[in-house]
């Protein structure tokens, strides 16, 4: 039985490490490469912590398995256990070394956090001209863009453009959105972009990110907001800035189409306007 139980405890670290190594093959790792600059830095920080944690984990488990193996053999060998109340130097070592490592980890993280959240570090141009306002609501994302050529104002303007669950942003440049909620708390979470920010009732919270590649990214809600929490599915579309402008123009045409200007589709109305 001694061998069996030692193997049970030894299996924990082995299976844990193996499952993490092979996790990626089964889609159990990050949903993809981070698609933002900050996201890449976040991933790097994750991998840095991962190395430290893995080494500690393996080391501690090796220690644990070794001592239980030795201690459970004592019964057969005979003799008393080691009468020892502790080793002072060991206590000092295993207090100071982890303290330094933990301090290093936390100080090393500060930079990315400052870039992401501290107002003075926001990219100036993006902060001056937020792309859109995202208003969360049970259970959808309402998006308000300023009309082409105008800036987003805190108060809605008559010519603002609205969509639901579909946020378009220009690619390859820092963009800022204003996040708010009309009812309960929600959280704007785009896994591929490694962006998450709660929307707090009564507050307007700016978030910025810099999407690196064209594409559609899933937008989900990460804070319990009621029975339909799970279905707040939206998407973030990153596209070249010209396409983004064209999208806004198209939206504007659709929105201001009064049904009589042209009997054909809004596209024609749009071309007429141009």
């Amino acid at each position: 039985m001694r061998v069996f139980w030692c193997l049970v405890f030894l299996a924990v670290p082995i299976l844990a490490v193996l499952s993490c190594i092979y996790a990626e093959d089964y889609g159990l790792w990050f949903p993809g490469e981070a698609e933002t600059l900050l996201g890449k830095q976040i991933d790097d920080l994750f991998y840095m912590i991962n190395i430290i944690v893995t080494v500690t984990f393996i080391g501690s488990n090796a220690g644990l398995c070794y001592v239980i193996w030795r201690a459970s053999g004592k019964q057969e060998e005979g003799g008393k256990a080691w009468f020892c109340h502790g080793v002072h130097s060991l206590e000092v070592i295993w207090s100071i070394v982890p303290a330094c490592i933990l301090m290093f980890i936390s100080l090393y993280q500060l930079d990315v956090w400052m870039q992401f959240r501290v107002r003075t570090n926001y990219p100036t141009e993006a902060a001056a001209k937020p792309v859109a306002e995202v208003t969360a609501r049970q259970f959808e994302w309402r998006i308000r863009y300023p009309a082409p050529g105008k800036d987003l104002q805190l108060q809605p303007q008559p010519d603002d453009l609205y969509t639901v669950n579909d946020l378009h942003v220009p690619v390859n440049q820092p963009v800022m959105i204003q996040l708010r909620t009309i009812d309960v708390q929600h959280s704007f979470f785009v896994p591929d972009l490694r962006v998450k920010q709660d929307a707090i009732p009564g507050q307007v919270i700016p978030i910025w990110f810099n999407v690196l590649h064209n594409g559609e990214y899933d937008l989900t809600c990460a804070e319990l907001c009621g029975w339909g929490h799970y279905k707040m599915r939206g998407r973030v579309v990153a596209e070249p800035v010209e396409d983004f402008q064209a999208y806004l123009v198209k939206l504007q045409a659709e929105q201001s189409y009064d049904g009589v200007a042209n009997e054909d589709s809004p596209e024609l109305a749009q071309s007429g306007e141009e």
Partner: protein
């Protein structure tokens, strides 16, 4: 040192078996005897463990087989929905699962059951300082259970156990949650009152009623843990109670502590307001983070005692162990913000909370190293107690280390509210605390009932639980890596989560194995009461005062007033040759020089 020592008088009163005539009700129901109260707490919490586990299995069913009707039970519980779990039912299930497990299982099983049972026995007192208050602390659990049950009947809390406003404050936000959420808040308040009474009692008892010779640094680590936990409760709980009342008045009297103006919820009229939802988060976590340690420290203390006894070896680094528990408690008060990294609070706060959170990993690490040190060079047999204790250390390692990812703010941006968090706290609360509790039940059961629990059943229970637990919760880390959010009734509407169904099915099967294994524990508990091997005072060769008392101890605990000569961890001491333990009460007369050495040893 102990100025107040009723043990003296009572030892005489009850020494010769001339008990007061107590009726059955006085003796076993409205009992003021700490042992009976402890056992009442234990049985109540074990039953609640089954309730909480059943709720969790409901959650797991939905995640593994979304919208499929639950076999047998589905028709019974959700007949109106064709056996399906509706999304609001799902929300209720995980809310009530967390509520039951935290407020009715883990906190009361540690402080209520083991705190009550062990504190007077381990410090050599005849009972708690305030026996009636102690009785009330148990009976205040029942209004809490009643209100939680009522909340369940009304549709259940709909805002998670964290109950963030505005969802929890405005009735329109969660249709049907009107009375349910209010009852939920009442339940939390009663649990708080119950814990508060316990905590005042524990502090007073530990400070005032220690046996002669039981200095602070001769107390077992369990007592230190209970003492520190009681302090945490006394200082943190009022904040939650106050916040709970504020939320209650928001719901019922129309105040707006947590509701800002202008919200339009479910097309209702815009709210009047001026409140701040973040205030709730600060107040709630100011209690609930220390509460995490309330749910862990006693288990750490008990595991330390059990590990030392099972390794037949003094605890490695007694003072560092005490200090690290005190540090955890102290730092525990200034880390609550790490639950709110993505909440939009001042980013400078995020940085400070990250540093304090990282630093709280340090005393935890010191404790793990000391536990490993305790086994090092020891002499263990793999009985159920040892297995559970080693599992405690092994699981706490995983739970503690995964915390580091979340403590780092930038990385937490991604992991916040994903299954990584779920994995992390289950590894700490189940992996560490509950394995500690399972060990403790096995270890102190003989003292409670005078019989040993079945080893065979205990080992099977341990193995199945350990297997099921790791199968259920380790893959959750990986779900978290894949960005799987918490509290989703149907995550698979999101394309990037579709491929995770098989993993969730695996988790659910493991959870069912783990859940079913708990029936073995209950069976063992009942079976051993009647058929367990009868044993004497000290079945494990322990050193503590509780092993000096008869099993089970009578009213007043000790037949002879204990006098303490040394710390509780003198296992394998060279001072005695015929056995490998030296009880705290054993008086060794040999020359002065030797007894001096002994006190020196205790100081190191």
């Amino acid at each position: 040192m102990s100025t107040l020592n009723p043990a003296l008088e009572h030892a005489h009163d009850h020494g010769h078996g001339d008990h007061h005539e107590l009726t059955f009700v006085q003796k076993y129901i409205f009992s003021t005897d700490h042992k009976i109260i402890g056992i009442q707490f234990l049985i109540t919490t074990l039953l609640m463990l089954l309730v909480g586990g059943a709720l969790a299995l409901g959650v797991r069913w939905q995640l593994a087989f979304p919208w499929q009707s639950m076999p047998i039970l589905g028709q019974f519980f959700y007949g109106a929905q064709g056996g399906q779990i509706a999304p609001e039912t799902y929300t209720m299930l995980f809310t009530m699962h967390a509520t039951v497990m935290i407020f009715l299982v883990i906190i009361p099983v540690l402080a209520g059951a083991f705190g009550n049972f062990l504190i007077p026995l381990m410090i050599g007192a005849d009972d708690m300082a305030f026996p009636t208050l102690n009785m009330l602390s148990y009976w205040f659990m029942w209004p809490a259970i009643f209100f939680f049950f009522l909340s369940f009947v009304f549709g259940g809390g709909q805002a998670g156990w964290t109950s963030y406003p505005v969802l929890s404050a405005v009735v329109e936000a969660a249709p049907g949650s009107g009375h349910a959420q209010t009852c939920w808040l009442m339940g939390v308040t009663f649990v708080g009152v119950s814990s508060m009474m316990g905590s005042v009692n524990y502090m007073t008892t530990i400070i005032n009623m220690r046996a002669p010779g039981m200095t602070l640094f001769r107390m077992p680590l369990t007592i230190w843990a209970m003492f520190i936990t009681a302090i945490l409760q006394a200082f943190a709980l009022p904040v939650l109670t106050a916040a709970g009342f504020m939320l209650l008045t928001d719901r019922t009297l129309g105040t707006t502590f947590f509701v800002p103006s202008g919200l339009v919820i479910n097309n209702s009229d815009p709210t009047v307001g001026g409140g701040q939802p973040l205030l709730w988060q600060h107040l709630f976590w100011f209690y609930s983070h220390p509460a995490v340690y309330i749910m862990l420290l006693p288990a750490m203390g008990m595991t330390s005692d059990m590990l030392a006894c099972m390794s037949r070896k003094p605890i490695f680094g007694y003072k560092p162990m005490v200090l690290s528990m005190a540090t955890i408690a102290g730092l525990g008060f200034i880390v609550w913000g790490h639950h709110m990294f993505t909440s939009g609070m001042n980013p400078a706060l995020g940085m400070t909370f990250m540093i304090s959170t990282m630093m709280i990993a340090l005393p935890s690490a010191v404790k793990v190293f000391n536990w490993i040190g305790t086994i090092w060079g020891g002499r263990i047999t793999f009985n159920t107690v040892t297995l559970n204790c080693v599992a405690f250390v092994s699981m706490f390692l995983i739970g503690g280390l995964s915390g580091i990812y979340m403590a780092a703010v930038p990385v937490d941006i991604y992991f916040h509210d994903t299954y990584m968090i779920v994995a992390h706290f289950h590894y700490v609360l189940f992996g560490a605390t509950l394995f500690g509790v399972f060990g403790a039940i096995q270890f102190w059961y003989p003292k409670m009932f005078g019989r040993l629990m079945s080893e065979k059943l205990g080992k099977i229970h341990f193995f199945l639980t350990f297997l099921g637990f790791n199968g259920a919760f380790f893959p959750m880390h990986l779900l978290g890596m894949a960005g799987f959010p918490r509290r989703y009734a149907d995550p698979y509407v999101h394309p990037y989560l579709e491929h995770l169904v098989p993993v969730n099915q695996f988790i659910t099967i493991s959870a069912i194995v783990m859940g079913s294994a708990q029936i073995l524990l209950l069976f063992n508990f009942c079976y051993s009461y009647f058929c367990g091997e009868k044993i004497g005072r000290n079945p494990w060769g322990g050193n503590g005062l509780e092993w000096f008392a008869p099993s089970p101890p009578g009213h007043g605990n000790f037949d002879v007033l204990p006098v303490v000569y040394r710390g509780p961890y003198e296992y394998s001491s060279p001072l005695v040759t015929d056995r490998d333990y030296l009880m705290q009460t054993d008086y060794l007369p040999p020359p002065d020089s030797e007894s001096k050495d002994e006190t020196d040893e205790q100081k190191t």
